[in-house]
């Protein structure tokens, strides 16, 4: 991956979050504390402001610095969760990763998110999108197929009952709403896949 590419992908993901911040906040208002879109937008804007300073840096550094902006600026649990994903991905990626090496690094980063959130698959969280993402990447699927799977995985959180995060306080009432973290993950993955082309 060329240095310029990683910056384009991060920019695409950040712009998607900013574009759909209102939708994310509305989803979070239904089953959480209603700040996911606002928080993610604050983080995405901080990342966009940081990107020019990272010009010419290796992808690992760009990912680490972007992740740190999310950690510091988001103001909710999603900051450390997405920040950990980016920073650990930066840490785990070799310089010129093959698809297989990228899949291995992605798995490590997703494991770190699991540990950070003390969460796992099936609890109506962003992990319910990140797990299928990893499977699709590891299977060598093309960006359009990965995008479709990510968006479908977020939709698949609608009938789930939340057992982690603020939505778990609602118990049965969390059923019937899409998880905002799953949706923000899917939106960013979709934007990255669009930028990669297909």
């Amino acid at each position: 991956m060329a240095d310029v590419l990683i910056e384009q992908l991060i920019r695409a993901a950040a712009l998607a979050v900013i574009r759909d911040a209102d939708e994310l906040t509305a989803l979070d208002a239904a089953i959480g504390d209603g700040d996911h879109g606002i928080n993610m937008k604050r983080g995405a804007e901080a990342v966009l402001a940081e990107l020019p300073k990272l010009d010419g840096k290796p992808p690992a550094d760009v990912l680490r610095a972007s992740g740190m902006q999310l950690v510091m600026k988001v103001g909710g649990a999603s900051g450390p969760l997405y920040g950990t994903l980016a920073m650990e991905l930066g840490k785990a990626l070799p310089v010129e990763p093959t698809r297989a090496e990228f899949a291995v690094a992605l798995a490590k980063a997703i494991d770190a998110v699991k540990a950070r959130g003390k969460s796992d698959w099936g609890q109506k969280t962003m992990l319910d999108v990140l797990f299928p993402l990893h499977r699709a990447v590891a299977a060598g699927e093309a960006p359009p197929a990965i995008k479709a799977k990510a968006l479908a995985a977020a939709e698949a959180t609608v009938p789930m009952r939340a057992t982690r995060g603020r939505a778990s306080f609602l118990g049965e009432r969390s059923i019937g709403h899409m998880d905002p973290g799953a949706r923000s993950s899917a939106l960013m993955i979709a934007a990255i896949c669009d930028a990669l082309g297909g």
């Binding site: 928080n39 510091m72 900051g79 950070r116």
Partner: protein, 128 residues
């Protein structure tokens, strides 16, 4: 050995400040105490930066117990602890206890010179 420090982390700046007032009323200045409330813009939420600063202000060589309210406060506090220098990281713990009651009990325990492990255990006795 100095007394264990207490850090109070709430989504609400008012709750964090109010809980700190209640701790002060109980233990005066015998325990290093700091609080962090609100997101980086001052709205409801928590800030890793503010938590790091509070840990610094409440620093004690005996360690620091961090009291948190809801999920994001815990996640952001754990993230902040990981960002501490290696020499400090192992001397800061997040307590799984109700914020207000836990803070007062933890500080009272700390004011008697108890270890960080004892302060944490006493606060966590309040958890169901």
């Amino acid at each position: 050995m100095p007394n264990v420090g207490i850090v109070i982390v709430s989504h609400s700046p008012k709750v964090a400040e109010g809980a700190a007032d209640m701790v002060r009323q109980m233990v005066g200045d015998t325990v290093p105490l700091a609080y962090a409330g609100g997101n980086p813009e001052g709205g409801l939420g928590t800030s890793v930066d503010a938590i790091l600063s509070a840990i610094d202000r409440a620093w004690s060589d005996a360690g620091v117990a961090v009291m948190v309210d809801l999920g994001g406060a815990e996640t952001n506090s754990e993230m902040a602890i990981e960002l501490l220098s290696e020499s400090r990281r192992d001397h800061v713990v997040v307590c799984n206890a109700p914020l207000v009651e836990g803070s007062v009990i933890a500080a009272t325990e700390a004011s008697g010179g108890s270890s960080l492990a004892k302060v944490k255990a006493t606060a966590e006795e309040l958890s169901p």
